[in-house]
Subunit: 291 residues, 2 copies
């Protein structure tokens, strides 16, 4: 889909997140013939994939996470649903709906469903404040800015490794923290053994601080995660601690914006996420009928 | 299980209803090693069974209702869950928990989950008021009282036909209304073609009135339905129209009593019911941990 189309077409709903909540909502919206854009990875949910055994999801005798995720993937193909593998970094409300920024492209939608999973509320210290001033969530969007420079990179899942490689080919030096055991052997990558605690700098990123107090000089910081903290993405969204505040209909404080799944709170369970995705989709259908 | 045992044992939870919400809760409580009594039919959900096609339940490509219900039945066997096929007609709160009356037997439980599906709020006119004064929900419990007498019977599903037959063998004359096309040929059964509108009588049942205004003399009235209206079963339960009022954690206004599924409101969807059953089960687990 070209950028030209994106700018003119307005979707009925933008569903953000490829976990069970996003899937459940997308299936229901599809059954109701809604025109949606669904942001997420083709691989759907890392969290489901990595579950050892799920014993309390109605319809499945104890099933491995990978097997269930594979069933989900098969199901979206049968349903004719397509995922757009772009990272949503900003959502704004306008008079006629919402504008979603994903990997530097703009999408318009009448409603939004946040199904972004359980993420830390605001990332690390100073991350949110430095967004666009040296902090980036997208290697392919902003990597070119750091040719010959020093960057710090947080990599939250193996599937972002191609982005790390792209950055390593561009930057002079790359400090990398991964949440899993990585196998990078690039000579200009230095693996950090302690997690990042804060982004340093006032007007622009000047470095990062690790949890052991070590400070590293850097011109930019990339956070490669499956999703960005909702409060960072959508200014004005009402939170309840780390979770998005919703009512029984999964409506947030912003009219036309719904939330479902782990991002609305515990229990962090597939069944709960699937249920809320369904409820939110019906809320969206009702909202669209009224507009 | 003998009545003796029932009177002394207190279950962690009484789950009322064998639909997707009850199933989802029972699975989760079982995983957490809770000792539950689960009221419902071995056949689980009529409503799921009769669904032509379910296209929006995550994990299943479009599936027939019967096939999905069969999967549910296989799953409870694997999980080692057992249903108690008795009709719950009264629940009362005591100092240490709840007392549940089902087919004239008493059960004690620390918590209750109402997952009774979408039922009319109070049955037909005067039904609730005449309960125990000629109105009954259980043929095997109260049928013997009507030997040689005239009764009116509402039969809400084919699986209650054995109860109708039992009543026809006992009563002198039986006026029967069924919600489906029935095939009774008993000489003392008269099939009613109009639905029942009201129970007649002030201190005791004297007859029933049909929607066309016709009045029929009867000594008793049996309502054979998959569940009784929540407000009838549990005095003091806060309702929102036809639905049980719950918060985001599926708690009702009565401490220790939860509700999930269609009985808490729309959308009447399997995914929503499964999600709420899971949330309610976690609420019960948390409640038990605190007590």
């Amino acid at each position: 889909m070209s950028t030209e189309q994106n700018k003119t077409e307005s979707y009925d709903a933008a569903v953000v997140g490829g976990g069970p909540a996003g899937l459940s909502a997308a299936l229901t919206l599809k059954v109701h013939n809604k025109n949606i854009i669904w942001f997420g990875s083709d691989a759907l949910s890392d969290k489901v994939e990595k579950s050892e055994k799920i014993a309390n999801y109605a319809g499945f005798e104890p099933i491995g996470g990978k097997e269930l995720n594979d069933r989900f993937i098969a199901q979206i193909k049968t349903a004719g649903l397509v995922l757009t593998d772009k990272m949503v970094t900003q959502i704004t409300k306008s008079r006629n709906g919402f504008t979603v920024l994903a990997d530097n492209e703009l999408y318009k939608a009448k409603t939004v469903l946040l199904a972004v999973g359980s993420v830390p509320p605001k990332g690390i210290i100073n991350e949110q404040e430095m967004l666009g001033r040296g902090v980036s969530y997208c290697a392919t969007c902003d990597g070119f800015l750091y040719k010959g420079k020093i960057i710090a990179v947080f990599c939250g899942a193996q599937r972002y490794e191609h982005e790390v490689e792209f950055l390593a080919e561009t930057a002079e030096k790359l400090y990398l923290y991964t949440t899993y055991e990585s196998t990078f052997t690039h000579p200009n990558i230095e693996i950090l053994t302690k997690p990042m605690k804060a982004v340093l700098g006032e007007n622009r990123v000047e470095g990062i601080e690790l949890t052991d107090g070590r400070k590293i000089k850097a011109d930019g910081a990339f956070f490669l995660r499956s999703s960005v903290a909702p409060a960072t993405v959508f200014k004005g969204l009402e939170m309840n601690g780390a979770h998005i505040s919703v009512n029984r209909s999964c409506e947030t404080n912003i009219k036309g914006c719904f939330a479902a799944g782990d991002c609305t709170g515990r229990p962090y369970q597939i069944a709960k996420a699937v249920g809320e995705g369904n409820v939110a989709a019906h809320g969206i259908i009702e909202y669209l009928a009224k507009e």
